[in-house]
Symmetry: C2
DNA sequence: TGTAATTCCTCTAGTGACTAGAGGTTCAAG
DNA sequence: CTTGAACCTCTAGTCACTAGAGGAATTACA
């Protein structure tokens, strides 16, 4: 049995976040001591690690919820898990490619006034002028 | 003179967002018609484009505010602009490298049960098991 | 057993950067 | 002059937490 603090240490998930997950229904309400403190078992620990891992991978909580609901499922249902992974992967690749074009532009901006801060800095100009960009870029999510 | 809707069309910034920027002090309060509607000039347009561009580059609004306050500055102050660009660039590179390791892991997860959904799907297992990861990964911000 | 330090409880509110909707007013075209 | 589109303010919601207040329970040690 773990106190909430112990569970936090074992999973690297902060205490308020654990309570937050409970509120959201991602973690079941645990048993309580006579003094109303939460006590967790290994099942809860595993579930929390699962959530954390999904979060680390960038899945939104709604997707995590979907995956958790597949526990013990089989056959067609499991395609959902596969789809979530695929969708997340596509999203990630998109994000990476957009970030790379931003990197190119920021590099350009940063170099624009290296050393010569005497007059009007080109950085400011470059930040403001969208037309100088190599291509269009969207929000970096 | 632009109405807020026109300004929105010219800048691709949504109307509520323009008002939000005004609230935050990033855009000066514009003149109003007799009927209390906002009217913007080209200066406001340029400023809004600047903000949008910075946002596209991933700068938080506090940094944008900092850059805007440098308007008309010279000399040492401009180092701040340079620093913001550098800091953002470092941040971006970090983000890209972390996302790339996530990509590798998601690819692995997604392939784990290609075709064979008969029994317990490996995707679910892979999502849950942190130890299978190539290396440690942090939140993808 | 006493007490002090630590951990825990609930509840509210704040973060960033918007977005959505209600309910009402003004503007521009025909 | 009427109609419909665009505008106004204000409140509240989003996501995924995070922080703090004020108080109760637990644990460690003497």
């Amino acid at each position: 049995m773990y106190s909430i603090g112990n569970l936090s240490r074992h999973t690297q998930v902060k205490i308020p976040t654990i309570r937050f997950y409970e509120d959201k229904g991602l973690l079941p309400r645990p048993d309580r001591t006579a003094g109303n403190q939460r006590r967790y078992d290994d099942t809860a620990l595993k579930r929390l690690l699962f959530i954390r891992h999904c979060r680390d991978l960038g899945l939104p909580l709604t997707d995590v919820e979907g995956l958790l609901s597949l526990e013990g499922a089989s056959g067609g249902d499991l395609n959902q898990a596969h789809e979530i992974a695929e969708r997340q992967l596509a999203d990630l690749r998109d994000r990476i490619s957009r970030l790379r074009s931003l990197e190119a532009e920021l590099t350009r901006i940063s170099k624009a006034c290296d050393g010569k801060h005497d007059h009007v800095c080109a950085v400011l100009h470059a930040f403001g002028d969208h037309n100088e960009c190599a291509g269009p870029h969207a929000h970096s999510k």
